[in-house]
Symmetry: C2
Subunit: 481 residues, 2 copies
């Protein structure tokens, strides 16, 4: 993971000035707990898909300052007592995380860091940077895939991502979220994602005639003959030339696999093209569509009966165009003080922005009768939550009168330890495994949580003990000022 | 530029399948010309700021396939005749480009590639990926900087960019666009951008009392004492504690430099905080603001007389939140055929999407009397456009009755050769130079082009010869089908 080396300075300056302060005050070994979570779902979607854990783990386990880094920090005025400690600096804490591909919700700890305050601070920027990006794109991909259903759907966004890194790791996240291929060859190589794509307008233009281009391509790329038909005029030129090419190839025992539409009214064009292909004896030539597609346009196309067999999504997926930021945060929830663990809280005038204090564990509550989800349940880490039980009370932490009791439930712990004393203790699953995990996790949700518009809000509730602690701390902090 | 090595496979699969086709057909050495440009301005802004050239040049001059890359392509089914050529593959063409920091407009060639068809194709994805990202962020930064004017404005976006690469190169682009600092330390180190930042909420929370945190920080970070005042309550706790800290430091001959507001109604809070600071004898303590700011919010704050001295912008800048994609394209405009250069065109039902054919040169037309811009002027490369002259006719290429004559003009050629036969022939300017170039270039524009809403549309016109060629080719292509 080359790109996740040399990342020690991939941090905000204030992390380093704060670290220096702790070091100079002799507080650097204070034990703390930070939770990483996000506050609201993007795109008006009903859930998010966690992605980026592999890169987070690689970053944490490779973290070290080079001599060049240290020299640069000295040039900024950092003091020797501090910079001297950096040559041997490693991340030595423990990390607990949900699995990549997990279905996640606002205000639950996706990942929890336990460590010394200096190391826990330093890593905030990179952790959020990776989490915010990959989770955003995976969520967008999952949202799109829900609309395209069984139809093959692939990522064509490379040129429109926010630079090479965003396109590369965006392709990874898109695959986790459900995309079945990518046009970006390096992503295929690094993450074992199937690569897809055939020809561009420039290729067609570079020949005197459109059909020359089609034939040249078909002759040299058997098995992947997808002809782009909109360079001049889709129905008057592109599709007829594709049919002529298919006829020519048929004589040689070969075939055209598909045509690709990239502009114009795709509902109309796809239906007309389908008729022309069928009418010429080529019902097996598929139709692919690309060109500024997103879940809304695809949904419209599907409802108009477009004859499209495969969708390629680019800009709108790889930039998460309609909401290009997740807004994940990383908050201090506990500080060890003279050997005692003390929960911490941050207030806000906005009640939904007040963090939930303390070292916690998130659980997914499944109804044992239906096998489906009832809600997520966050308890203090030292509370006993039996794996199976009866009559669990779930109540909204703000609107507490909103409550329900689950008669027979199974409580699945969502976090597992992934780093122990700075060492990776899990094996990175491959992309296919992560994608399957996402599919399986999602299958336990109700359709109401998965619909594109106005999904049912999923419950993320607190245990009674945790709720009491939080309210007690809010009161104490408020009365203080 | 570590990140721009190992980029040969950072390309869409179709570039490679097309390359293979040309190679197998013996067409790989066909000479072609591609133009890189964009079609419409983001954010409703009046201009864009070109950024990313340094990375584009690094990419092109380092481009090579590793053995691993070649093995991967073989595993995908690419043929030996093609993959054998890749071990020695280098980019050997010429590149002409506008300068980084240039003020650019839709439909003019920002960068032009002349080379063999196989190399010109391969590079499309990476060129656009870099150009689209950095130009987008530089443009957003320039737009924000126009609103903040003389007030120091910095990039705080690292955690919200689309992954580490997007944040890093986004910080670079933001500096080109006018940001005077970044919180991202690695960007400071790599690009020599001033780094900024002081403390987070977690730092304040980690102490028993807010003022303890302030004092600890102030004692160890002289010269950069910016206290974050909203962890508990800005006016009841944060500002009073900042004042107490300032009083304590004053006794020791030291000082608090600034406070930072990060939430709440910043117009009200900044004015109240200003009064409290002034009233306590600290008129020199500055007020910085951060927290989901963009040009609209800052504009509102300024019009409400907010007492803010410095702005830090994050998410909205680094993700170009309101329009996170530029949509730059790279189009074939000329093909050499039996030694003759033949212009190429791509039609579209949307007249504004029809490309302008041929090898061209863009000029900026300055009015010799005012020293200000009149419009950009695109001519065929072999046309003579005198550097100075009289009575130049500018006319809209679509609405041709929209025209004007510039009596005394200066024509400044906007592109220069940056790569010759694959070798870099210019020196990368540093970020400060690029930023100054942008400022100087922008100073030649009228306020009407620079305003935030409904800016005056800037003319990008064609020479008469180029306009005639384009129309002739449109007619010829249309009559063909």
């Amino acid at each position: 993971m080359k790109s996740y080396e040399d990342m020690a300075l991939h941090t905000d300056l204030y992390q380093l000035t704060m670290m220096q302060t702790y070091v100079l005050k002799g507080l650097q070994d204070q034990k703390v707990v930070f939770d990483m979570f996000f506050r609201s779902l993007p795109f008006g979607h009903g859930y998010a898909v966690f992605a980026g854990l592999e890169q987070i783990i690689d970053y944490l386990t490779q973290l070290s300052f080079s001599e060049e880094d240290i020299a640069y920090l000295k040039s900024l005025g950092f003091k020797k007592e501090f910079t001297d400690l950096l040559s041997d600096f490693r991340f030595t804490g423990d990390v607990y995380s949900m699995k990549e591909g997990e279905i996640i919700f606002p205000n639950e700890p996706v990942l929890t860091v336990e460590g010394r305050i200096v190391e826990a601070l330093l890593i905030e920027t990179a952790l959020l940077n990776i989490f915010n990006h990959q989770t955003l794109i995976a969520t967008k991909a999952s949202r799109i895939k829900q609309i395209t259903g069984e139809k093959k759907t692939v990522d064509f966004g490379a040129r429109r991502g926010h630079g090479p890194g965003a396109s590369l790791y965006g392709a990874r996240a898109a695959a986790i979220g459900g995309m079945e291929g990518t046009s970006l060859v390096k992503a295929g190589k690094m993450f074992h994602i199937p690569v897809v794509g055939t020809m561009s307008h420039a290729f067609v233009q570079s020949f005197e005639k459109e059909q020359q281009a089609f034939m040249a391509y078909a002759e040299e790329n058997e098995g992947n003959v997808v002809l782009l038909v909109d360079t001049f005029n889709t129905l008057k030129s592109g599709v007829p030339n594709a049919i002529r090419t298919a006829e020519e190839l048929k004589k040689r025992g070969k075939r055209v696999d598909a045509i690709r539409l990239d502009s114009g009214d795709m509902a109309y064009l796809s239906k007309e093209a389908r008729k022309m292909l069928d009418g010429s004896g080529f019902p097996d030539i598929k139709i692919a569509a690309s060109g500024d597609l997103d879940e809304y346009i695809i949904s419209e196309l599907e409802s108009q009966g477009a004859a499209i067999d495969m969708y390629a999504v680019g800009t709108k997926l790889i930039t998460a165009f309609d909401q290009p930021s997740l807004g994940g945060v990383y908050k201090l929830v506990e500080v060890e003080d003279e050997g005692k663990r003390r929960p911490r809280i941050k207030l806000s005038d906005n009640i939904e922005k007040i963090i939930t204090p303390g070292r916690k564990k998130p659980y997914r509550i499944l109804n044992s009768r239906t096998g489906r989800v009832e809600g997520d349940y966050i308890a203090l880490a030292d509370e006993k939550v039996p794996q199976q039980g009866r009559n669990l009370l779930l109540f909204d932490p703000i609107y507490t009168w909103k409550q329900k009791t689950v008669e027979d439930y199974e409580a699945v712990e969502l976090q597992e330890k992934v780093i122990e004393k700075g060492k990776k203790i899990t094996v990175h699953p491959d992309i296919q495994e992560i994608r399957s995990y996402r599919e399986k996790a999602l299958s336990r949700f109700w359709e109401e949580h998965k619909r594109k518009s106005n999904p049912q809000v999923y419950y993320v509730d607190l245990s009674v003990d945790l709720w009491r602690l939080k309210n007690k701390m809010i009161e104490a902090a408020r009365s203080y000022y």
